[in-house]
């Protein structure tokens, strides 16, 4: 893989940086708001949507965003309206999306396990196009703007949802916002590691940052940086070892998390006590 074209490498590097930043940032909100199970469903919703796009020769990105949005709508407002516990709805939606994804992928026999299908399953950073980079840049700008304007509310909800509600903050719209935004971020980043591994990008950097830092503002800055770093190291490992990029990124971010757990000053203090 070392001999890749310069422009492909540039795009790969940019995609790693942007997707790592985005997923690392959104992961903080997903983890702190205890939406992890919802995150799994969202990533598999995006996966199923992309699979539908391939089966119907539509842009997988568009169908991925549509499916992720539909999943967000199901596990957000619809589940709330039906008074379904988050565990119950995610337990239903998660396998449903997986089942749909595999049905879509086998719907058109001539597609088989083509490179396009493989890209959706476990990602292909070298297939990143200029359009993908533009989407990622736009999404980065939009996400940062949204978080800037809603920071106060998100900060309070991440501390304790019930207390935030007791202080007069309408928590539901902000939680739905995070669910929808995570769905879009996951879909746009799908090409990097594929539908089966994408949620690791969402949770690992945030979980690693939470092991070390005791200030939420610093965690919100550190998690995207960890996301970027692990993506770049994962990409380098993939190029040198000639292994799939997505798997390398996930392995690196898992190692980072394991090291963070082992070296966490929070844990050390606890043992001393």
């Amino acid at each position: 893989m070392i001999g890749l074209e310069f422009t492909i490498m540039q795009r790969a590097l940019l995609a790693c940086v942007l997707a790592g930043f985005l997923t690392g940032l959104m992961g903080v909100f997903v983890v702190r708001m205890r939406l992890s199970a919802i995150g799994y469903s969202m990533s598999h919703g995006a996966f199923a949507g992309a699979a539908l796009g391939i089966a119907t020769s539509t842009n997988p990105l568009v169908t991925g965003v549509l499916f992720a949005s539909a999943t967000a709508f199901l596990i957000g407002p619809v589940a709330d309206r039906a008074r379904l516990h988050p565990d119950a709805i995610t337990s239903i939606v998660f396998p449903l999306n997986m089942a749909l994804a595999f049905v879509f992928l086998t719907l058109t026999p001539e597609i088989g396990l083509t490179s396009q299908v493989a890209n959706v399953l476990w990602g292909s950073i070298i297939s990143m196009t200029n359009s993908d980079i533009v989407y990622l840049v736009t999404l980065c700008a939009a996400t940062l703007a949204i978080i800037h304007f809603t920071w106060k509310e998100l900060f309070a909800i991440m501390f304790n949802r019930k207390l935030a509600e007791a202080d007069g903050i309408p928590t539901k719209p902000f939680i739905y916002l995070i669910i929808f935004l995570s769905g879009v971020v996951v879909t746009i980043s799908l090409k990097l590691v594929g539908g089966l591994l994408i949620y690791a990008l969402l949770f690992n950097p945030a979980s690693s940052a939470l092991q070390f830092l005791e200030d939420m503002r610093k965690i919100v800055i550190a998690s995207p940086l960890i996301g970027v770093a692990t993506n770049l190291v994962g990409l380098a490992a993939s190029l040198f070892l000639d292994l799939p990029v997505g798997s390398c990124i996930v392995l690196v971010s898992t190692i980072v998390f394991a090291v963070a757990v082992l070296l966490s000053p929070k844990r050390r203090r606890k043992e001393v006590q």
Binding site: K152, F159, K162, L163, E214
Partner: protein, 247 residues
């Protein structure tokens, strides 16, 4: 006198439950009233507070706070209520500074999408000073003791500059010295600011000294709504409390 809190025939049922947690409750609190709520575990005391601030939906009846219906204007009502929940504790690694948590009390008042201003920070710092927490302002919540965390919750409620205080066993984790000081501080605030105050407690001795009205609850109902002496007499003579849940 003006009714600040008014409950009419209120019943609240938790989701998935059939038995109401509070049943046919009628209650009126006037401006600047201080009321203690006592009762055994699962009597409905916490449910009563959470029904008043609109955190729990009503099954039957109506709740009006500051002249607003909490079912339709819950958010506006909650911006005026300083609320301390029962047994609030964070995990040891909680990455929030004490001052941030106190400042959050003002977020509802600040308004959607607006950042807190210097005035809000000053109020938060002032509330922390009142509770003797100024040196802990920049410490993570997870590193504070249970009593210190409880004081942070009280500071959060006070920083809000509320018209109503709803305190659910707010002194349970405090050390003996703070148990003397903090209730006096609440009394002082209640009197100086004219706050309508409801305190859920098990400390009957404290209530005898500090208030003129006590609500005794059991099995989701208000059994007694009287002076502390009469309430205590009823409690002592009632089989419902013979297990010594109220000391």
């Amino acid at each position: 006198m003006e009714a600040i809190i008014k409950l009419e025939d209120v019943s609240t049922v938790y989701e998935g439950e059939r038995r109401p947690a509070i049943k046919n409750v009628n209650l009126t609190l006037e401006r600047n009233e201080l009321v203690y709520v006592v009762g055994p575990n699962a009597a409905g005391k916490t449910t009563l507070l959470e029904t008043i601030n609109g955190l729990l939906p009503l099954f039957r009846g109506s709740v009006s706070v500051l002249g607003l219906d909490v079912q339709t204007r819950g958010r506006a009502v909650r911006c005026e209520i300083g609320y301390v929940p029962q047994d609030f504790m964070v995990e040891p690694g909680e990455p929030y500074k004490a001052l941030d948590v106190v400042l959050m009390g003002r977020y509802g008042r600040t308004g959607a999408l607006h950042r807190p201003e210097d005035k809000d920070r000053e109020k938060a710092v002032e509330a922390m000073r009142m509770l003797g927490l100024e040196e802990l302002a920049n410490r993570p919540m997870g590193k504070l003791s249970g009593g210190q965390q409880q004081k942070v919750m009280l500071a959060r409620a006070i920083a809000k500059e509320p018209k109503i205080l709803l305190l659910d066993e707010p002194f349970s984790n405090l050390d003996p010295e703070s148990r003397e000081k903090i209730p006096s501080l609440i009394m002082q605030l209640h009197e100086e600011k004219g706050l309508t105050t409801m305190i859920v407690t098990h400390d009957v001795h404290k209530m005898l000294k500090q208030c003129r009205r006590v609500i005794v609850m059991n099995d989701g109902k208000i059994l007694v709504d009287e002076s502390p002496e009469k309430a205590l007499a009823t409690v002592n003579g009632s089989a419902a409390f013979s297990l010594g849940v109220i000391q």
